[in-house]
């Protein structure tokens, strides 16, 4: 089953310090390990939340607005789609995330068996 791991951060970006660089390096390793295990489907780091644009639909009319879909201090900063046997395995992968922020785990709908 596919699970999407959404990495939440404070939107500040990684600090330009040795510590920040070290975290960044560990995140790189985390992605590499996932690739090597064959469980990685896709994943991206997203640009800062200031670059976000949201399209809302008011009575069928698309309205384009600046900013993320929800105004908050924390945002989705990146994501990975992983293949895992069950929720426990997806949780184990997410627990090893070195980024420090929360990770939301969501199962993807399986359309493979659909008629």
């Amino acid at each position: 089953m596919k699970y999407m791991l959404m990495f939440i951060d404070s939107g500040q970006g990684m600090p330009q310090t040795p510590e920040g660089q070290a975290v960044y390096a560990r995140i790189g390793e985390w992605f590499q390990n996932l690739h090597q295990s064959g469980k990685m489907q896709s994943g991206e780091e997203l640009q800062a939340v200031g670059t976000a644009t949201t399209i809302r639909f008011n009575g069928g009319k698309a309205v384009v607005t600046d900013g993320p879909f929800i105004e908050s201090k924390e945002h989705v900063g990146g994501f990975a789609v992983v293949e895992a046997a069950d929720l426990d395995e997806a949780i184990e992968i997410a627990k090893r995330w070195p980024g420090g922020g929360p990770v939301e785990v969501r199962p993807c709908v399986d359309h493979s068996g659909a008629a």
């Binding site: 089953m1 046997a85 069950d86 929720l87 426990d88 949780i91 969501r106 199962p107």
Partner: protein, 408 residues
């Protein structure tokens, strides 16, 4: 078949005991075989309905579990033939045809408990699902016990079951390091269930007292299923020590009686001794934990012949050990009471001051501060703290107790 059971109270109780033992095993086995929580539950309900028709008339079958399992599987086949969704379930069921046995695996109930108490489910849902699937309570009984509306409970259960299926929460007993972590979660669910029943069970709320008994039964089951784990033993001992003095917690007028004023001659000595043996069994495994230590503290109180003779030094020492594994403001609050008797009310008050900010909204912090202030002769401050405690609790028995103190 044995002889007919008749329809008397005894017969109904005999049947209820069988259901309680067999239903979770049955749900667990069917869930493993078919991977559908709802269907497993419905089939077990169907089988129980059929048992209620036959058993009182024909007598209890030789092996009630096997009888229920065979009936549930027959119901499953009937359904599968009727419904489209059942076709692939039928294949699963046929594939898992039991050779000669009952179709049970020894770990079915354990898997069910761990699934119901999975940390990805909200605490409310864990409790409701465990009571429903493992303890066999109806949605209406759960609603009454928790004083919430029945549709609310039904919705919690439906949502939880949906998440189990859609997010693929595994139906499995965790292993290795995960077992310890997940077991903590299960024990927390069962202790919350117990406290909900025990702490608020006054006279006139029998449903709630039953909830404490249900939680105790579930921990007993866990002890049987995981005999090598000390913490379930600790929690079982703790619950039994509470239950051993449950009858003395309220007076004839229904008012709360504090530990120091309880009639110790009415405590259940046999239950207290049995709980002591459970603690020893757990201690022999040499893996101390929060429930074992809380049980040990409760045992020191239970074994003390009077309030005056309480071994406060030992209790204080046990609290020190407890802080090593569970350092929470509430544990510190309870320790302060032991500190009062070892080092005096001044020292206890200093302990309480250190956690005052964390527990400002907790009535027992203020009620305990009031006790210490009164012991120091600071009556005006004590009254202010009791008023604060009164404003923070809605439990009628606790309110009555504090109000009485304020009148003196």
């Amino acid at each position: 078949m044995r002889g007919p059971l008749g329809s008397g109270l005894e017969a109904r109780q005999a049947v209820a005991v069988v259901f309680r033992e067999e239903a979770p095993r049955l749900i667990g086995a069917l869930l493993r075989q078919m991977g559908d929580f709802d269907l497993a539950e419905e089939l077990v309900q169907d089988a129980i309905v059929e048992a209620l028709e036959h058993w009182p008339r024909d007598g209890l079958p030789e092996r009630p579990g096997a009888w229920l399992m065979a009936t549930a599987r027959r119901k499953a086949i009937d359904r599968a033939r009727r419904e489209a969704r059942g076709r692939d379930k039928l294949a699963l069921l046929m594939a898992s045809e039991p050779a000669a046995g009952t179709g049970y695996e020894p770990e079915d109930r354990l898997r069910l408990i761990f699934t119901c108490c999975h940390p990805a489910l909200a605490r409310d849902a864990q409790v409701a699902l465990t009571l429903r699937a493992v303890a066999g309570l109806t949605t209406a009984q759960i609603a009454r016990a928790f004083l919430v509306a029945e549709p609310t409970v039904a919705q919690r259960i439906v949502r939880a079951k949906r998440k189990i299926v859609e997010a693929r929460i595994p139906y499995r007993v965790p292993e290795g390091a995960q077992l310890r972590e997940r077991l903590d979660e299960v024990l927390a669910v069962l202790y919350l269930m117990f406290n909900e029943g025990y702490l608020s069970s006054g006279p006139g709320a029998p449903e709630r007292r039953d909830l404490a008994r249900d939680a105790e039964w579930l921990v007993g089951l866990l002890v049987r299923l995981l005999p090598g784990e000390p913490e379930p033993l600790g929690l079982l001992a703790l619950m039994r020590l509470h239950l051993a003095r449950a009858d003395t917690r309220f007076d004839a007028a229904g008012e709360l009686v504090l530990l120091e004023d309880q009639d110790r001659s009415r405590w259940d000595r046999e239950a207290i001794e049995a709980a002591g043996r459970l603690i020893q069994r757990a201690a022999a495994m040499r893996r101390p934990g929060a429930y074992q230590l809380q049980a040990a503290i409760a045992a020191v109180h239970a074994e003390s012949p009077s309030w005056q003779e309480t071994d406060w030094r030992q209790i204080g020492g046990l609290y020190e050990l407890l802080l090593g594994v569970l350092d929470t403001p509430v544990v510190r609050l309870n320790r302060a009471i032991a500190v009062r008797w070892v080092a005096g009310p001044e020292a206890a008050l200093a302990e309480l001051d250190a956690i005052a900010a964390d527990l400002d909204g907790y009535h027992l912090l203020h009620a305990t501060r009031a006790v210490m202030l009164r012991a120091l002769g600071r009556e005006a401050e004590a009254v202010a703290e009791d008023r604060r405690a009164l404003a923070l609790t809605s439990n009628p028995a606790e309110r009555a107790l504090i109000a009485k103190r304020l009148q003196r």
